[in-house]
């Protein structure tokens, strides 16, 4: 595909969004039978499924921690999730993402409640269109809640970036590919604490501050959608109307 001459025309992005607009976001909790908790999220063309297992006994035993539960995360892309078929199995990118996603979720969990246990979070990217790691975090937080695991707060993720010199919320694939900067961020929304922050490209100090502003705005909306999804699962519709 060729890069279009401009990614932003008259203040509108290729898909018609304004710079501070999110793509359509749908979250559903409790979509799998076997998993202890699960969630399915669509953000634009991203389709992400997450399952949580645990707290459960840690195997192999020598990885048990005597004072805390161990959180394990696996971010994985389906072979058919991208334009060119991806070979199954972890690559360097997915290993790094699995690590930062784990570190983005750890701050909200009470891991000391479950010494010697393991909590597993499996993130499957079924269809990818930029922002998969942050969408994965958004889904993982809902799946953890669905599994009934006590949490200090949810974690919501979103990406901000820059294209054609404009700071943008929630990059789509074309903006990620041809834009000038990409900054995934995850936040505990209640107290606005940042648990994941990565960036590549270029930001002036001023653009960086704008990007943070925009990110916190986007996080609010993601958080609302997360809460709605959990309410939909646990509060019967009729009861909610009262």
């Amino acid at each position: 595909m060729e890069r279009p001459e401009r990614l932003i025309v008259d203040g509108r992005r290729l898909d018609g969004r304004r710079p501070d607009e999110l793509r359509p976001l749908q979250i559903k909790a409790g979509v799998l039978k076997r998993a202890d908790g699960s969630a399915y999220v669509e953000l634009g063309k991203n389709k992400v499924l997450v399952a949580v297992y645990g707290p459960k006994e840690m195997h192999p035993r020598h990885l048990q921690q005597s004072d805390v539960a161990v959180l394990r995360c696996r971010y994985n892309m389906a072979p058919f999730s991208v334009e060119e078929r991806k070979r199954p199995g972890p690559d360097r990118r997915s290993i790094e993402i699995s690590k930062v996603v784990r570190e983005a979720l750890e701050p909200v969990l009470f891991l000391h409640l479950y010494p010697r246990a393991a909590i597993d979070v499996f993130i499957e990217i079924l269809q990818a269109d930029a922002g998969t790691r942050t969408t994965g975090i958004t889904a993982a937080a809902v799946a953890l809640a669905d599994a009934g695991i006590p949490m200090r707060d949810l974690v919501a993720g979103i990406s901000v970036g820059k294209a054609d010199g404009t700071v943008l919320l929630d990059l789509m694939k074309e903006e990620d590919q041809w834009g000038e900067a990409d900054m995934p961020i995850a936040v505990m929304p209640r107290r606005k604490l940042v648990t994941l922050l990565q960036m590549d490209g270029n930001f002036t100090p001023d653009e960086f501050r704008q990007a943070l502003d925009l990110a916190f705005k986007g996080i609010e909306r993601v958080y609302e959608a997360q809460k709605r999804a959990l309410r939909e699962k646990y509060v019967p519709a009729s009861e909610e109307e009262r």
Binding site: Y53, A78, S81
Partner: protein, 253 residues
Amino acid sequence: MKEMVSSVKRDYIVNLASQGKRLDGRTLDQLREIEVRRGVIGTAQGSALVKLGNTQVMVGVKIEHGEPFPDTPTSGILVVNAELLPLASPLFEPGPPNEDAIELARVVDRTIRESQAIDLEKLCIKEGEDVWAVFIDIYVLDHDGNLIDSSVMASVAALHDIKPPKDPEWTLPTFPIRRKPVAVTVAKVNGVLMVDAGLEEENVMDARLTISTLEDGTICAMQKGGSGFLERREIEEAYELARKCGEEIRKKL
């Protein structure tokens, strides 16, 4: 890989079976509810999500350029891969496909290949150099039993969903798929045969026999599994079940 089952549960299932009954109220020759959704993945040329009771299997098919095998220089390539994702069961672990995943992929492969459902000869671009490679990726999302039958269903549905790739070298009007092979796995539980075993039934079965058939009753693949044995009579009964239930499944695809 079987899950542990309590002996009470085992006895209960075995007892029911001996009376021709099952845990979820089905008859021995009754399938669970089947839901087939096509076109679920936009980045794949063809895709399908199959729900068979609570079992969920997604299949995405990608079509790419490939080099033909030296002994079949004018034939397209078919690759089937199955991932027993750790999301789908507490017993599935991350890592390369184990023997269960490999067996699953290979039984699906044989069912599709031997049925000649895909006309691979049409997928030649340049003899000996360039052909179309068809990648069938089976993604098991939720495991509540009978992964073989549901994976064949999802694969066949995804193949019939294929939109040709946007590539100047693709010259066929449509993807050359022409048949609907269907696998039916018959489980033997304490000597009783039943179709479409759920997970709890699988956990107590002695053996299983998968029979893949075509519209006309031709058998294109078989696979016995499990640590038990089958009598000849049981094999012939299994074929009758496979034929009958296969027709039912085929209507959904």
